[in-house]
């Protein structure tokens, strides 16, 4: 499998370490009233789709960037690769 790194171009997936669903960047607010319930969902429930899946990969044997890869879990075809940091920023995550 190859991951087309936004900066480095196609690199063998074996250079990367997989984490999972890209929703893991949506860490809940610890001060919310239902924080415990939110964190439980965040930590444990997954869409796990058969089809397009946004997921986090870390370029461990490379530039140490976390990437969000949009990959089809039926065909393994990758349609989009983004820098996770850019996505997180764009979604309003800050400090």
């Amino acid at each position: 499998m190859l991951i087309n790194h936004p900066i480095l171009g196609p690199r063998d997936a074996s250079e990367f370490v997989y984490l999972g669903d890209a929703n893991l960047i949506h860490r809940p607010d610890w001060q919310a009233e239902d924080a415990l319930a939110q964190f439980t969902k965040y930590g444990y429930l997954r869409d796990n789709p058969a089809g397009e899946h946004r997921e986090l990969w870390f370029h461990e044997q490379g530039d140490r960037s976390w990437l969000i890869v949009t990959r089809n879990t039926l065909t393994h075809e990758i349609s989009k690769v983004e820098m996770a940091r850019d996505v997180a920023s764009a979604e309003g995550r800050s400090k």
């Binding site: 997936a13 997989y18 999972g20 429930l45 796990n48 789709p49 997921e55 879990t73």
Partner: protein, 416 residues
């Protein structure tokens, strides 16, 4: 029809004309008391025990493809009950006991072979952990033995101890562990269930649930609606796809696990052996093929196939402990989809929908659980109470913080 050596001889002398179908091919009825979704090992076992142990007769197994085509048909055939945690060990020990009587139970030779399983130890810390585990096994009524390297070399004289990267410092053995002819498990349960009146319906895919007022009334299928008092989902790697039809999100990810078999060779490995410092475990089938595997590929996949780096990683592990393997050939690889749960342990539980039950999250340990999973699920379906060995396998354990995390890897399914 009862199988026996006498019967085989009789048929051989009369041209084998008397053998009937192992199970009937039939059309679905309009409704059942119990519908099991998924004709894999667990689903067929559930139907069998519902009929046999709980006297239920209006039972159907719906299989979208052909029975036994999921993980029961593609695994490395290992049975064992060498678990650490109290949530797991009694359940797997119950399963092992059911395996021990399976052939007589089913009148089907699934070749349950208790040739032993051996986990190699490569460090002091690993030994400490294995001693804790071995003790937990014994305290739960299972068998375990701590072996020295010398004892291991008596059975496996060719293990690499001379120039190994990681020294072999003994092993934890479970002599009652072993292997089973995996396909035969599905066929044996199917035949047994069929003989007790269970309808096994192949090529019948569930496309939706009929849920009214919080109660499941049946399932829509590619062969029409089928009503049911109770519906039990039992579809392993397809769990998330199926339960999404009931608006459920699960604590499960679907991953691919590859496994491998070599060309047939004359007897080499007496039992199952697991390399504790790499990703490799291996046994030898009765046909002579070395059946081996390692880690999952590590990314979500429903594709039933993996990639080259994992094949290399597994073979590296093999060469590390069995350096003669260089001259054996890998014959075939295959990939199965695994329902990896968030703590590495399964779920056998009711759902928020009345009449809809769930069995899944087996990670890549589902095969050895087949009899107990079927038994416990049948118990839950028939009595609405969990079987005594499966009380911990609840959905809400993540919310309450009562995870059953054998490997201590936390909520990351690909590490379990």
């Amino acid at each position: 029809m009862r199988y026996s050596g006498f019967r085989v001889i009789k048929e051989a002398l009369t041209g084998h004309r008397g053998w009937g179908p192992a199970w009937r091919d039939i059309d679905p009825k309009s409704s059942y008391d119990y519908i099991i979704i998924g004709g894999g090992g667990h689903g067929l076992a559930t139907a069998y025990y519902l009929a046999k142990e709980f006297g239920k007769s209006r039972v159907a197994v719906l299989e979208k493809d052909w029975i036994g085509g999921g993980n029961v048909g593609r695994n490395t055939t290992i049975i064992r009950s060498n678990y650490l945690l109290d949530g797991n060990e009694p359940f797997y020990e119950f399963s092992l006991k059911l395996w021990e009587g399976l052939e007589q139970e089913l009148n089907y030779n699934a070749m349950v072979s208790q040739r032993g399983i051996l986990n190699l130890i490569h460090s002091d810390a690993q030994r400490d952990a294995f001693i804790r585990r071995g003790n937990a096994m014994i305290l739960n009524g299972a068998d375990a033995e701590l072996l020295s390297t010398e004892q291991i070399l008596k059975s496996y004289p060719f293990l690499n101890v001379d120039n190994a990267r990681f020294p072999i410092m003994g092993g934890l053995a479970q002599h009652r562990g072993g292997t089973v002819r995996h396909d035969a498990v599905a066929w044996g349960y199917a035949r047994g269930a069929d003989q007790r009146g269970v309808d096994i319906i192949q090529n019948c895919e569930v496309t939706g649930f009929k849920i009214e007022n919080g109660r499941c009334l049946g399932v829509d299928t590619t062969r029409g609606f089928i009503g049911a008092q109770k519906v039990g989902a039992c579809v392993a790697g397809s769990s998330s796809r199926l339960m999404a039809k009931a608006s459920m999100r699960l604590p499960i990810e679907t991953h691919v696990l590859q496994a491998f078999v070599s060309e047939g060779i004359k007897p080499l490995l007496p039992g199952v052996i697991t390399f504790g410092a790499g990703h490799f475990y291996c046994s030898q089938s009765d046909k002579g093929g070395l059946v081996f595997g390692g880690d999952i590929d590590g990314y979500n996949s429903y594709a039933q196939r993996g990639n080259l780096p994992v094949i290399e990683d597994v073979c590296e592990g093999g060469m590390a402990i069995l350096p003669m393997l260089g001259r054996a050939r890998l014959l075939r690889s295959w990939g199965g989809v695994m329902d990896m749960s968030m703590d590495g342990s399964p779920i056998i539980d009711r759902t928020h929908v009345d009449g809809l039950y769930f069995n899944g999250g087996w990670c890549y340990g589902g095969f050895k659980a087949t009899p107990a999973s079927g038994f416990a699920y049948a118990h839950l379906l028939a009595t609405d109470t969990p079987h005594q060995t499966a009380t911990a396998y609840r959905f809400d354990r993540f919310a309450t913080g009562r995870m059953i995390d054998e490997k201590g890897m936390g909520n990351q399914p690909n590490l379990h």
